[in-house]
């Protein structure tokens, strides 16, 4: 069957009224869990797994997939309005999204987030249709050495996330890596910095850290201001202006490409994709000097990127049976529960499932856009609530979000500690992003390093002899060297008569 034929077959499967309903239900649930901090798509899919057993396989997977990509839409709402990332992949949306809110531009920020998510989600589905099998095979070529090199490349993004001081950014990155070593050592299982507490054995949870460093720290910083300066600027306009569109079109395109390719790689995922997109915009956006100060590029790029990544992560699952992240592992569990073994033969054995799920994503993205755009006007009304009333509500969301990740008060303690740390870091002009990026990459980086050295029997040559790893390390060197060379050239030019 050619692509058009299989697509038509897919649409015939997904446009069944019952499946449209489950797709709708999935994306609505996804939007809700995306908006609510702490309650992530993996927990929701785990909760709903037993329920889906009663559904036919295609409907069940369509609904669960809708929860995942729907959550990427919802995650940006709280990030933009109150600086709490609903999902870890919305973390960088906080930077410019919340600044736009403070300037009374919450409406355009939410609008561009929904529209860029829609464009990226739809384009990524087209990519999924066209290049799924070859890209899936490429992802299979990634072993521990390649992952380690990819993580090292990812860490170089710190240099661009650090704000004014590179030294402070590096310090925060090292602190993040050190915090990532808390918990059981990934190879030998030895406990590190757990202080004999059960709660720290699995390491420091990302959700409590996000809630603390963004939500709690923001509340503390706002509460410090005199009451008449606490109120956020009244929202003006609910949709992006013509200028916003003009500024956002290339960031959306770049974010879609970056997100799609990073989503395919196991371990990459929507969070790393959104950070990579933000850094890309910091280097290439027309208004890059305004990044972090309410630039629409800082919302459009990462939001496009995390949605494209969410769709891209289906490629290794459906074509190879390899989950790219925790949510995809839950999807794999759902498929297995329904007696389906994803892999290279899935396209031949179950074309109804493969193409039905993919075409349902077109439908889901349209539903999400229709659902999210009218809600922009409703969401911005939240900003009319006086801050002394809004503050405890934000705290409540953070407290429930942190508690619900593991059902332990220890996670709430971690959140409060990171809230205080985040507040002090703001005071002393340290950026939170390098710490969080390092915390995300730290554990998989150490695991990959030690696995790769185990495979090579302790030889570091493994990183240089494997082609993909070598290319990634060269890219790392170029990424680190470019600013230094650029600065040297600039100084020489300045010094020349």
């Amino acid at each position: 069957m050619d692509t058009l034929q299989v697509l038509l077959h897919g649409f015939a499967v997904s446009l069944d009224p019952a499946r449209i309903f489950y797709c709708f239900l999935g994306v609505v649930l996804g939007t809700i869990v995306g908006v609510l901090p702490g309650l992530g798509p993996s927990a929701t899919i785990a909760l709903l797994l037993p329920v889906t057993y009663r559904l036919d396989t295609v409907s069940a997977i369509i609904m669960l997939a809708g929860i995942y990509y729907g959550s990427q839409y919802g995650g940006s709402t709280t990030a933009i309005l109150v600086r709490i990332p609903g999902e870890s992949s919305s973390m960088v949306t906080c930077f410019d999204g919340y600044e736009m809110t403070r300037q009374g531009r919450a409406g355009p920020a939410l609008g561009i987030a929904a529209i860029s998510s829609f464009i990226a989600g739809t384009v990524a589905v087209v990519g999924l249709v066209l290049v799924a099998p070859p890209l899936g095979r490429f992802a299979l070529a990634f072993g521990p050495a390649e992952y380690f090199s990819l993580m090292v490349l990812g860490l170089t993004l710190v240099a661009y996330l650090g704000g004014e001081s590179l030294l402070k950014a590096l310090l925060m990155a090292v602190l993040g890596l050190l915090l990532a070593t808390v918990g059981q050592d990934p190879v030998a299982g030895v406990e590190r910095y757990t202080f004999d507490t059960l709660a720290l054995r699995d390491g420091i949870g990302l959700v409590p850290v996000f809630m603390g460093m963004f939500g709690i720290a923001e509340v503390l910083a706002t509460m410090e201001r005199p009451p008449d300066q606490q109120r956020l600027a009244a929202p003006t306009g609910f949709l992006p202006t013509r200028q916003d569109w003009h500024d956002a079109r290339w960031p959306i395109a770049r974010g879609t490409v970056v997100g799609f390719f990073l989503g395919i790689l196991p371990g990459g995922g929507a969070t790393v994709a959104s950070i990579a997109s933000y850094v890309t915009e910091k280097r290439f956006a027309r208004n890059r000097d305004r990044m972090g100060k309410g630039a629409i590029e800082g919302v459009a790029g990462p939001e496009a990127s995390n949605n494209a990544a969410a769709t891209g992560s289906f490629i290794p699952l459906l074509t190879l049976g390899i989950p790219a992240n925790v949510v995809m592992a839950m999807m794999l569990a759902a498929l297995t529960l329904h007696g389906v073994r994803p892999g290279p033969l899935l396209m031949q054995e179950r074309p109804d499932l493969f193409w039905g799920v993919i075409t349902s994503m077109y439908l889901g993205n349209i539903v999400l856009l229709i659902l999210n755009l009218p809600l922009v006007g409703l969401f911005v009304q939240i900003l009319r609530i006086p801050y002394p009333i809004l503050a405890p509500l934000i705290l409540l969301f953070c407290l429930v979000g942190a508690y619900s990740t593991s059902g332990q008060v220890a996670d709430v303690v971690v959140m409060v500690c990171f809230g205080l740390l985040g507040y002090l870091m703001r005071k002393f002009k340290f950026e939170a992003a390098p710490l969080i990026l390092a915390l995300i990459l730290g554990k998989p980086m150490e695991e990959s390093l030690r696995q790769a050295l185990g495979i090579s029997q302790g030889s570091f040559a493994i990183f240089a002899t494997r082609p993909i790893s070598l290319v990634l390390l060269l890219a790392t060197a170029a990424s680190l060297g470019a600013p230094v060379v650029g600065r040297a050239l600039w100084r020489r030019e300045r010094g020349s008569p």
Partner: protein
């Protein structure tokens, strides 16, 4: 003497010192972990090396902080009333963490709202009580009943 005192009060100097202390703590606490070799790293390899790098970077920050003529760290908090609100919010959060498992979600959340709205936010009793009851009851219904999130019930609940 005065110059040294003012140097120690500068924000970057204080940050450098704190981070050096943290690096030392991380190094000492990782003391018993096997470091392994470069080709076969042990559980202590990364923590100890990171602590070392952090100490060096923190020392650089300390030195650069001493060299620049920045104001005192105390100047970062100019408003005493603002600092009191921050302290009050933190105290309310710590109190919440300490009693939520014993007193349960509903009671503790209501108390958090009372403190935040009445004493920190300076709202009237009518607004305080209405928002506190609506928020704690509504969030309990949303999370515990509809979304089936397990919230602490309190040890006094049979």
């Amino acid at each position: 003497m005065n110059e040294r005192q003012s140097c120690l009060k500068r924000p970057d100097v204080l940050s450098g010192l704190t981070l050096m202390g943290l690096a030392l703590f991380a190094w000492v606490w990782a003391g018993d972990l096997p470091i392994g070799t470069l080709h076969q790293p042990g559980a202590g390899f990364l923590p100890k090396h990171l602590a070392l790098v952090m100490a060096v970077l923190a020392a650089l920050l300390f030195v650069s902080g001493c060299r620049t003529r920045a104001g005192s760290a105390a100047g970062l908090w100019s408003d005493r009333a603002g600092l009191a609100r921050v302290g009050g919010t933190l105290a309310a959060l710590i109190g919440y963490v300490l009693v939520v498992e014993t007193a349960g979600y509903l009671l503790t959340t209501t108390a958090l709202f009372l403190v935040m709205l009445r004493w920190i936010g300076r709202r009237g009793w009518a607004v305080t009580l209405t928002v506190a009851l609506l928020a704690s009851g509504g969030s309990y219904l949303l999370f515990a009943r509809w979304l089936l999130v397990s919230l602490p019930g309190g040890t006094w609940v049979p």
